[in-house]
Symmetry: C2
């Protein structure tokens, strides 16, 4: 019970007058050990409160039983939910999860990767930062022979598995919903096109307009980041034009929130005059006084799936990392008051949850 009284297999072996090798084998259920010895060892191990030293094991085996997760921020509900999914699946397998935040900075990302590789994690899960252009720091993971799994925000690197949602479909559903609500001039808050997810949402938006024979007005597409202020600015820009929108599909919940705040200042009726749909289904969208429609990315599922992909990958022939998998989940459109005119007008309206 005293401090630092670390019990090793040698302590057990001395007490029982057998070799440490035998103790090790007994503890690992090696079949070549007699039942009596095994039981004796197990009993003694319990008595002495033996705990396997993971460092020694790690040094010997090269496996640390810990994995790294790199996300832009941990306090975005989306990312924390993914992390939860990963933890949930991996904890029962004895993995420790090391979480790193890039703060959307490619340099931080590179530093974290270096630290994780140095720690010799057994795998890395990541959602790349917005500022990441060059991917050489990411490729170091592969050069190191460490399994890598992208989730949500990925880069196209051959041999790397990824779990994402169908952002194209998400963008399409959101836009279609607004059109079905009667909108004819749907604006789009477009995220950084450097990231695939925003490109796909944007393309979904374009396709929906096309399918519903709505002419594209490039003036309705505003490039923003996902901050509240950016959304407010974007709305101001749209409002300063002669031809204003009658709906907004924002690729970010935060930007959508900024727009809603601005619209209310301008005393514009939501959703009657302008319908709004965000993306991510952050909890606040539900709790707003005017609850916001959004596209849910099923982050917990994404995390669990990513963890599964990892487990499959390391259970395969150790070094055949070429088992590239690309899971694409279906997004869910959650319709709330910011875009639902059912009380006021219009016939057919789709999904309604949350």
């Amino acid at each position: 019970m005293a401090k630092n009284e670390k019990v090793t297999i040698y302590d057990i072996s001395k007490k029982l007058n057998i070799s440490a090798a035998t103790v090790s084998r007994a503890l690992n259920n090696n079949p070549k050990i007699s039942l009596k010895t095994r039981e004796l060892v197990l009993k003694t191990a319990q008595e002495l409160n033996y705990k396997q030293n993971r460092l020694a094991l790690a040094l010997k085996s090269g496996k640390t039983n810990s994995i790294g997760v790199i996300v832009p921020y941990i306090n975005r509900n989306f990312f924390s939910a993914v992390i939860y999914g990963i933890e949930k699946l991996l904890a029962p397998h004895g993995y420790n999860v090391i979480i790193c935040q890039s703060h959307e900075d490619a340099n931080n990302e590179a530093n974290h990767i270096a630290a994780l590789l140095n720690t010799q994690v057994d795998g890395i899960f990541m959602s790349v930062s917005k500022t990441t252009q060059d991917t050489s720091h990411i490729e170091k993971i592969l050069e190191n022979g460490t399994p890598l799994i992208f989730f949500d925000r990925k880069k196209d690197i051959p041999g790397v598995s990824s779990v994402t949602i169908d952002d194209f479909r998400g963008g399409y559903m959101a836009t279609e919903h607004l059109i079905q609500q009667g909108a004819r001039r749907v604006a789009h808050f477009c995220g950084d096109l450097n990231l695939e997810i925003y490109r796909n949402r944007h393309n979904g938006y374009l396709k929906a307009l096309e399918d519903y024979d709505i002419p594209l007005d490039n003036g309705l597409i505003v490039h923003t980041n996902s901050r509240i202020e950016a959304g407010a600015d974007a709305l101001a820009k749209l409002w300063s034009k002669k031809k204003r929108p009658d709906a907004i599909f924002s690729s970010s919940d935060y930007a959508a929130l900024g727009a809603i705040q601005e619209l209310r200042k301008l005393e514009v009726e939501i959703p009657d005059e302008v319908g709004v749909v965000g993306f991510s289904n952050e909890p606040f969208t539900k709790y707003m006084e005017l609850p916001m429609s959004s596209v849910d990315q099923t982050p917990a599922t994404m995390g669990e799936l990513a963890a599964q992909v990892f487990l499959e990958q390391i259970n395969n022939d150790q070094h055949v990392l070429s088992v590239e998998k690309r899971d694409v989940l279906a997004p869910e459109l959650i319709v709330r008051r910011s875009s639902d005119k059912k009380r006021t007008l219009i016939g057919k309206h789709p999904v309604s949850k949350g």
Copy 2:
């Protein structure tokens, strides 16, 4: 460059025809090594792309250069901000941060502690879960000789350092502010009294009433957890009584949000009829259409301070853990529209930020 081509000090020693000991000393700037040898080793190490194996080092030294942080949830802004503070200070010292979520469950907490001790982290930072009564699992950390630092939510265990805010003062300031805004019937949403932080906020509330000669009405104190629904329920309960409150000090931002939503449904004017102040200054409180007053806990500072305490502790005589420190930070009252009647009435009004 190829996979798994791990370079060790032996590779360097072979290439230079010197012993591994010399290489090790050269790399560690041991003064007993000649300049030429040192430079040669350093140069060769670079050429071969040598990376120190942290596992071997950890096994030898018993230090893993990683620390564990246990929080109830990572997606509460307060906790993620503390974590950021810890990371910021510790990363330059080469520490990896392993983050665990207890989900307010004492069992999870115990499991995470066991896992962290097994990983042989160099220290543990924790904010205890609401359901934690028995502290025997926490004391295991001390028995293990591992430094432990509480932040925000602590248990009174001798020899354990802690960094908290002055919750009493926070509760006092919030209540005083409401009184100065003209309130005479201040309700209190009281958190789980099992936790010191909620007891202190509660006591601060009581003291402010006393100091301002406002009679205590126990009917105005409602016990809630920190969920939105709980706040809504609490308000409904208060509203069903004959004597309703004219202000609410909630020990949780989430419960305060629930109350505000309910008040708006009832078409009660905020802050004119009922002023509301929350606690934590979660970001949403600022972005609400009716921005909420709250008490800021300066979480980033808290994290940095906790990290500093840790560094001091391990730099002291290794095993004198008795350097117990108790840092108490000052909370900040952030006044926003949910409680600020300055437009409408009343004279003196205090701090106003955010």
